[in-house]
């Protein structure tokens, strides 16, 4: 029997989210393993145009479910509509994004379908001829390989891990539109409040000096500013934990729930390197990581790794820099 792999189209404000294309490429990786068919599903009050776009881009069979009143994501509606559809399609795999939407409905949907639920999937592997999914654990210090033991598996796919390779001449795309009356009884959506924070300070910098829990004390933030001051067009940023502590403002936060940055140079000071943080900075040009823990996950994504306490290393670096500057002046 042919397996069905379903991709849940993530969209917001009338646009398909880039991660959706990564979900299709993840589905194609799964398809290589066994003969199977990929279908995309989109839920919205007015899904026709986006469904067409998915069908034309990928040559996929797209099921568009028109649900009056569904102008933004609603967990209760997603759970109940998708549960029925997945049963009808006899889905073997459901690919959703590891995003604020996917992380919200996937676990609840899995309960409804007696399905496996594997969140934050970063890779697909074959272990002893069986499909396994790799996901980070313990602050990305280790990776778990997880195997489904159910007929249906719901996956939330970490954005940025599956490169979308769109076909040049997609063929065979089709759209089926269904209309469904479905009201959420217990969960009423009240709209989206747009972000107030202005992130341009860190997204436009050429050099970012970023700080994490290794800072130890709020007063040490001054050191980070001193280091940043050596560079032109630099900015100070931080991991979520630093912003939660109130040591930096949230507009300085790099990571999934903050800004995605790609400066020429990213200096990570005392940052452990959780997946959430790394997703926001891994496309930086050159990455220097300073951390006293030699096993910190940040070293896996860095070009240069320095195992030192940032509290003593940063002043040492500034001293070396200033000495070199003054010698340069004398020579010049």
């Amino acid at each position: 029997m042919k397996q069905t792999i379903v991709v849940i189209v993530e969209h917001a404000s009338g646009q398909i989210r880039p991660v959706t294309h990564e979900l299709v490429s993840c589905a194609k990786r799964l398809q290589q393993n066994k003969a199977s068919v990929i279908r995309a599903v989109i839920l919205d009050a007015d899904p026709a145009a986006l469904a067409r776009e998915m069908a034309d881009t990928w040559g996929l069979e797209v099921t568009a479910v028109r649900i009056p009143g569904l102008t933004s994501y609603n967990g209760e509606i997603y759970k109940s509509v998708l549960a029925d559809l997945m049963r009808e399609f006899e889905a073997a795999y459901v690919c959703t994004a590891h995003s604020s939407q996917g992380m919200d409905f996937a676990p609840a949907l899995s309960v409804e379908l007696n399905a496996a639920c594997i969140t934050g999937v970063e890779d697909i592997l074959e272990v002893e001829n069986r499909t396994c999914f790799a996901r980070s654990i313990f602050g990305a210090k280790a990776v778990a390989h997880v195997r489904s033991q159910s007929d249906i598996s719901i996956l939330t796919i970490q954005p940025g891990m599956f490169r979308p390779q769109k076909p040049d001449k997609p063929v065979g795309g089709s759209v089926t539109i269904r209309s469904l009356k479905c009201e959420s009884v217990k969960t009423r959506s009240m709209g989206i409040k747009q972000a107030e924070a202005d992130m341009t300070g860190i997204t436009e910098a050429d050099v970012i000096v970023s700080v994490g829990q290794g800072l130890g004390d709020k007063e040490n933030v001054a050191l980070i500013y001193q280091l940043a001051a050596l560079f032109t067009k630099s900015a100070v940023a931080g991991s979520r934990i630093i912003c939660d502590l109130g040591w930096l403002e949230y507009r300085c936060q790099v990571g999934v729930s903050g800004a995605t940055v790609s400066p020429q140079l990213y200096i990570a000071c005392g940052i452990s390197g959780s997946v959430q943080h790394v997703m926001g900075m891994r496309s930086s040009g050159y990455i220097v990581a300073i951390n006293s823990d030699p096993t910190a996950a940040i070293f896996q994504v860095a070009d240069i790794c320095i195992v030192e306490n940032l509290i003593t290393f940063i002043p040492a670096f500034i001293e070396v820099y200033e000495k070199a500057q003054s010698e340069g002046d004398q020579n010049g």
Binding site: A12, V111, Y250, R282, Q300, F317
Partner: protein, 259 residues
């Protein structure tokens, strides 16, 4: 109002992570210390803030884990929870989120909680599944990554803001009872008070042996644990601190990243 807060004991973030000899899970005896999952502290604090705003509110704190995890219940009581429930497991290793959610749902089913809180995820397994799963098991509405919550005056609804991409917020009104997973930064978790800690030490926790709770069939399994692969060269600088500083300066200058 009755609130159930679900908390977890995890290893200290600085604790080294060593994979066991069969590569099945983390070597637990290499872990140097344990603490309450940092993200659960926000859930406990949010419950305590509600208790302060609504006198008469009762907070139950529940955890599932081996004997040592009773410590996090004591901490939650130290922060202001009233009662503690410990579902005691024999195993020290990996716990499946659906098993945890089923056991908590089974406990909560006839207890008339108005709100059930969890942290947004655990720092060790990072799955973020238990909250929505409890909601689904009990047919309750839920919201994840809640960064603000406000009870409606009639106590029939809760207004929530959940954090979505790019710092925007999705706003919802949920019918009570409801399950909320609490995002970090919603509040500033307090330290346990001495008087509460003394009470916690005297107070008897309600203990349930995991074997006496529900035993759902496992739907997925961790078959192997590995160290992560490097995505860049990851050159470690050697020498004294000063030598490393000199080397770093040279590297940055070679790449014209520093004048």
């Amino acid at each position: 109002m009755k609130i159930l807060v679900c908390i977890k004991q995890v290893s200290e973030s600085e604790s080294p992570i060593q994979i066991d000899e069969h590569a099945r899970w983390i070597q637990t005896d290499a872990i140097t210390g344990y603490k309450m999952n940092r993200l659960d502290e926000f859930a406990v604090e949010e419950a305590v803030l509600l208790k302060e705003a609504y006198p008469g509110t009762i907070i139950d704190a529940i955890t599932i884990g081996p004997d040592r995890s009773a410590e996090v219940i004591k901490r939650a009581i130290g922060m202001g929870a009233n009662h503690g429930i410990h579902i005691v497991t024999e195993s020290d290793g990996h716990q499946n989120p659906f098993t945890i959610a089923s056991r908590i749902a089974d406990y909560a089913r006839d207890k008339y909680y108005t709100l059930i809180f969890t942290g947004v995820m655990s720092e060790d397994q990072m799955q973020g599944q238990v909250g929505p799963m409890i909601a689904a098991c009990l047919s309750l509405p839920w919201a994840t990554a809640v960064i603000r919550q406000q009870m409606a005056p009639d106590n029939k609804y809760v207004y929530v803001e959940r954090e979505i991409e790019g710092g925007s917020r999705d706003t919802l009104q949920l019918q009570l009872p409801a399950v909320l997973t609490i995002q970090s930064g919603i509040n500033t978790p307090r330290y346990p008070s001495l008087s509460n800690l003394l009470r916690a030490n005297k107070q008897k926790l309600e203990t349930i042996q995991a074997g006496d709770s529900v035993q759902p069939k496992l739907r997925e399994k961790v078959v192997r644990v590995a160290y992560p692969e490097k995505s860049r060269s990851g050159t470690f600088l050697a020498g004294t601190q000063r030598e490393k500083a000199i080397r770093l300066l040279k590297l940055l200058r070679e790449r014209a990243l520093l004048q």
